[in-house]
Assembly symmetry: C2
Homo-oligomer: 326 residues x 2
């Protein structure tokens, strides 16, 4: 686990326990896959979803909480996230993830397929241990489906020149915001917070998820490999047209057309030229403004939550996510 959480002392221990549980959970008789999974656990995943989960659980009634259950649910959220990461890297043919080589590029796609599958199983096992009989079992199944459909939407709209903001948001809502929303909602629910807090949690999580993804997509245009630890303009090169580009195209579609018509044949230099166009036409600024508005919605909702340590830490974390270097 990384140092990110030192400033959030109330959840630091919880996140440590979640990390340990994940490591225990991925112990299997195939040592190659076990090593791959432990690598991934150690590679500095931010545990953002479990963090939001615990912050919301702290707004509940601690006398009713089952600590073991909470740790397991937090782990299930991170494990589902890890599973989709691994399979995404197969689709994207990514060589780097979180600054280390991906499972598929280190061990091959065979191992990557099964490793992701195994994590889906661990996810399912953790749920069968923690929420058997709860309506949240179905909530999780539905969330997992929306998550995958979001990934499929993204795959399906590759190289789509007339990609609209609503196409983009549909995919982001599924592939990213769904799991943030679920994390916050489950934290509030299994932490025994009020129905009102649960309702807010769901909406806050969704807006944080959308803002998080938009910022991530902005970083693809602005960061370099040293700060973000991943190849830049990767999405663009692979035909994944995100908000900065979509907003810039609206300003002058004819200037992008010659580049985008090349689809996967676009060169590294041309990709750079597109990125410069995006900056020049205000795509980055507009996307930042969009993310700011969405974050503001989340902060406004957070403001209405009952006063608590969790609330202040939640505000801090949300603002911190916003101040990532770009």
């Amino acid at each position: 686990m990384n140092d990110y959480w030192k400033e959030f002392p109330t959840i630091q221990q919880n996140l440590q326990d979640t990390c340990s549980l994940i490591e225990q959970q991925v112990k299997i008789r195939n040592k190659e896959i076990e090593t791959a999974l432990i690598d991934l656990t150690h590679s500095g995943g931010k545990l953002l979803r479990p963090a939001f989960f615990f912050l919301f659980s702290q707004m509940g009634d601690s006398s009713k909480q089952d600590q073991e259950q909470l740790i397991k649910i937090a782990a299930s959220l991170e494990i589902l996230h890890m599973a989709t990461l691994i399979h995404d890297d197969i689709i994207d043919d990514s060589t780097l993830r979180r600054g280390i080589v991906t499972i598929q590029s280190k061990y091959g796609k065979d191992v990557a397929v099964y490793t992701g599958d195994l994590l889906f199983t661990e996810f399912f096992q953790l749920l069968s241990e923690t929420m058997n009989g709860s309506s949240f079992l179905k909530t999780n199944a539905n969330a997992m489906k929306r998550l995958l459909l979001g990934e499929l939407d993204q795959m399906h709209t590759r190289y789509k020149k007339d990609m609209s903001v609503s196409d983009y948001l549909r995919s982001v809502n599924g592939k990213t915001a769904e799991l943030f929303s679920l994390s916050c909602l489950e934290g509030a629910h299994f932490g025994h917070a009020s129905k009102q807090v649960q309702r807010l949690a769901r909406r806050i999580g969704r807006n944080i998820g959308i803002a998080f993804q938009v910022y991530d997509d902005i970083l693809d245009y602005t960061a370099d490999t040293t700060t973000l630890k991943k190849p830049v303009l990767e999405d663009l090169a692979q035909g994944v047209y995100t908000l900065p580009l979509i907003l810039a195209i609206k300003q002058a579609p004819e200037r992008f057309q010659p580049y985008l018509d090349k689809k996967e044949k676009i060169t590294a230099e041309e990709t750079l030229a597109v990125a410069e166009l995006v900056l020049e036409l205000g795509g980055i600024d507009e996307a930042k403004y969009f993310a700011l508005k969405v974050t503001q919605k989340a902060l406004t909702d957070i403001d209405t939550l009952p006063e608590s340590v969790g609330k202040r830490q939640l505000e801090k974390l949300t603002e911190l996510l916003l101040s990532r270097s770009f």
Copy 2:
């Protein structure tokens, strides 16, 4: 659905309903994947697992049965099976499955990864609708994990010259027998059969699954593409050493060594030479004898089941599986 089930009138309608439900379940907004999945559903999968499920459910108390629940559970078994098939085809780089081109060779590995993932989700959704609160939720999670570990074992023991019968059986127990066992057990359980029938169902399913896999592996050595509808000696070429080969190697390891040392560089002609060696050294006959013994165990158990139409059809199906052309 194919004509295979005409001779099993008591379950034919159930299987038809299961098929329809699967088709409904795979309707999604991504038309490419939807088509791929409907292709797969239509391509003559034998629905063996749902069939065993329904035969065992018929040994229960029909007055207590929930028909919609049974259809959904039967569908969940086939869907889990389909998901693993799709991901296996990525690992194997298979071009054919059930005589039609695989999803990965027709639509690419990207679509195949997500299509399999989506089926895991459908599986999970069906379980959340049918057994939320039942101990069978965990039984399913565990079965899914054993299934995957069986696949991993197979991958892990590729090109293993000293592959033992017990290595082989460990993999088969996971990748094939686990789901047959679960299908029979769930049929008996959710059909409200007695505890004794449930115990037998689990064991009968396991033995049928093992025998089924051994026969399938024999077919890899004896069938040709016209009868089996898939490339022959595929396993051997990919380093998956199955029972006929393992048993033949025991007779004269030195005759196999020069071939197996070549690993993935083995030519088509050399593969054929190995197959002839396997036949010459009695590997096929010994494997058949092994499968016969295991089938006999299943039939002996079936014989102790209470008299019923289901019991006679179960006997018939088990024997039919045995008489596949080779």
